[in-house]
């Protein structure tokens, strides 16, 4: 896969020479004494978080970096994925001597609740029934994800994060972190994200959810009890979503109208005529191997519910009132999924709140997935911001 394929696809082109940092794959379960209070009003208990760490926490406990993952990613940010053996989704960013330097920072990457890589979610066993939760799992929000991550930090003895960073849904969590726990976030890097999910974004998610629920193998969400999986529906959901991660320019550059293994049109609906069809089918097929359909429903729902302004009286600046966190907002010119305008709304609110904010827009034709890809200007600006924040934090 070349530039058209980002790690949203689970197929990031990684430099094979990049060394993976040593990863610790951990799990923590909070028992009945520590239920997770959810925005829906329910309490989730027990709560399990699967998370990976890299590097060492310093004596001051001041060098922790939290990486928040996007919709279909997981905690395996810099190590080979245990299921697919593919390199970590942000290996180019995280590792010894890299922008998020595991020689200097203690890096924590949790799988979000609602996910399917070991954290509490619809695939996990419901203690009340002994069966997988399925749709009995409570609806969760971005704020719920962040609240569970705060419990994880308490468990790890980390009071204040040096940095919270993430793109797309990861960026939403970063914004929620900075808003809900301003004193616990020294610096924040929300990338290619939005403070509220737009109608267009909700629309794409709804297409995906309806595709899953239209698959007869979904069985009202109880497919695990039936020994089936709605792979066709989930695959279509993935195909639709995947289009939003790429720019039109990138699609043109990589595929244009090129035919797949043939010289003429088939005048048929079987095998794919066009390379782009073949590519999307491949993305759908491989996705279902590592992702759960119900998790996809829950996490897209959480993103759709995200509206940080609404949670603060309709004024986004109120979400950041009095913040001392240093922000670096990053957007990408060809990202039409979370375009620069959405990211600028965050910047305007931060300025109005009197926050310390930097904002860069990276020139690229790689679309939304650019934050995962080789973008030297992004690397330089992030390195500069992180170095400056580290000086301020006394981490030299």
């Amino acid at each position: 896969m070349s530039a058209a394929a980002g790690a949203h696809t689970g197929a990031t082109p990684q430099d094979p020479r990049l060394e993976a940092p040593e990863a610790r794959l951990e799990t923590v379960t909070f028992g009945p004494d520590k239920p997770l209070r959810l925005d829906s009003g329910e309490n989730l208990s027990p709560v399990t978080l699967a998370y990976n760490t890299y590097g060492e926490l310093n004596a001051d406990k001041s060098n922790a970096v939290l990486i928040c993952h996007a919709l279909t990613m997981d905690q395996h940010v810099a190590n080979a994925h245990p299921q697919t053996d593919k390199p970590g989704w942000w290996l180019r960013m995280v590792g010894p001597g890299r922008t998020i330097d595991t020689n200097r920072f203690f890096v924590i990457c949790p799988n979000v609740i609602g996910g399917c890589q070991g954290s509490s979610g619809p695939t996990e066993t419901n203690p009340k029934t002994g069966n997988p939760y399925g749709l009995d799992f409570p609806v969760i929000t971005i704020a719920d994800m962040v609240r569970s991550q705060a419990m994880l930090l308490d468990h790890l003895g980390v009071e204040t994060l040096f940095c919270a960073i993430g793109g797309s849904m990861g960026g939403m969590q970063v914004l929620e972190w900075a808003s809900a726990y301003p004193e616990r976030v020294f610096s924040a890097i929300p990338m290619a994200t939005a403070a509220r999910h737009s109608a267009q974004n909700i629309a794409f998610h709804e297409v995906g959810r309806q595709a899953i629920m239209a698959d007869p193998d979904w069985h009202g969400g109880t497919y695990l009890d039936h020994g089936t999986r709605p792979t066709k529906g989930l695959s279509v959901a993935r195909m639709a979503a995947h289009i939003t991660y790429l720019s039109e320019t990138a699609l043109f550059r990589k595929f244009d109208r090129n035919l797949q293994d043939r010289d003429t049109l088939t005048y048929d609906f079987g095998a794919p005529d066009f390379q782009i069809e073949s590519y999307l089918r491949h993305q759908g097929m491989t996705f279902v191997d590592r992702f759960d359909a119900n998790s996809y429903l829950y996490i897209t729902r959480a993103m759709d519910y995200f509206d940080l302004a609404a949670a603060h009286g309709g004024v986004l600046a109120n979400a950041f009132k009095g913040t001392k966190t240093r922000f670096c907002v990053v957007s990408f010119t060809s990202d039409w999924h979370y375009p620069t305008a959405y990211n600028k709304q965050i910047v305007h609110a931060l300025i109005a709140a009197g926050a310390n904010v930097s904002f860069v827009e990276i020139e690229t034709d790689k679309g939304h997935d650019a934050f995962l890809l080789d973008e030297p200007v992004m690397d330089d600006t992030l390195a500069g911001f992180i170095a400056s924040a580290a000086r301020q934090r006394g981490l030299v």
């Binding site: 109005a352 310390n356 930097s358 400056s388």
Partner: protein, 206 residues
Amino acid sequence: MALDTTTQTRIDLIAVADLVREGARVLDVGCGEGELLELLRDRRQVDGRGVEISQAGVNACVARGLSVVQGDADRDLGDYPDDSFDYVILSQTIQATRNPREVLGQMKRIGRRVVVSFPNFGHWKIRLQLLLSGRMPVTRTLADEWYDTPNIHLCTVRDFLDLCEAENLAIEKALMLAGDTSWTEHNPGTRANLRAEQAVFLLYRK
């Protein structure tokens, strides 16, 4: 912005930096690649922020560890709260704004002090060039031809004083620069307007 010689940039920026109190909160509007903000950070330990219209400039600033956002002086100053900075600086930028008066109005709202530096179109060499050649002057500080200059609102020291009067801005300090020298003018008049290649004003609301 329109300056192209390093030595001129230095003396101009140093003059601006000298006006700023140590440890102040500073907003540099049109901060370019962050030379002034870096100078202020290193020499005056200011808490500095910047706004810059060119994305390349912003990216360079952030890579240098400066807090800078991409924005347009003409459009994007409205977000900043009243009195949120000790100083708002417009260094060699006012002549490139579409609406200098509105920009100045926003600056005095946002900052308790306003610093403006600009090339003086009243300098005798410029007047003489226009008189003798009948063409738009091209000088060390105004190096572009008329058709490709970003400087769409050039003014003289006297013009600027009129604008300050109209905007109810009082002059706390006026620095004139020519070549490698600089001097303070308590009441800049005809002589200053002839001699100064550049001017730097420290202003406050009346």
